[in-house]
Symmetry: C2
């Protein structure tokens, strides 16, 4: 089973990486960019028995820093 | 308009960050993890006039290194 975890900074947390990307886009001449936020995506290839709760546990214990980050889990059921 | 860009390493490109996450998950006692790939997600808040081609241009020129990375664009239409 495959699963994707999307990790984003919480609202209100400063995002210097996003700011740098924003400035770089403007320097390259792209107009109409209002805001940029940078996040992470982690693709997991898991045993089929892995439950949603297990994945959430991985996020809380390792993948995301829940003080400043939100995470969202997307399970991609493997074709049987 | 909001758009998300997902950037992943191409198949066959070594992913030391993913490997490190994989080892850390195993060290924490999570079994059944076959593989981990680390990627990036960039959330863009754009002017409504921005076209798909513009976003693709941003990816090719700045956001992704197309030699080793693939990108996927997801447009989230703003509620009018």
């Amino acid at each position: 089973m495959k699963a994707r975890v999307f990790i984003t900074l919480k609202n209100g947390v400063l995002d210097p990486q996003g700011k740098a990307i924003h400035h770089a886009l403007e320097a390259l001449g792209f107009s109409g960019v209002n805001d940029v936020r940078a996040g992470k995506m982690i693709e997991l290839d898991l045993a089929d028995a892995t439950s949603e709760a297990d994945i959430e546990d991985m996020c809380r214990k390792l993948l995301a820093n829940t003080v400043i980050e939100n995470f969202r889990i997307e399970r991609l059921e493997s074709a049987a």
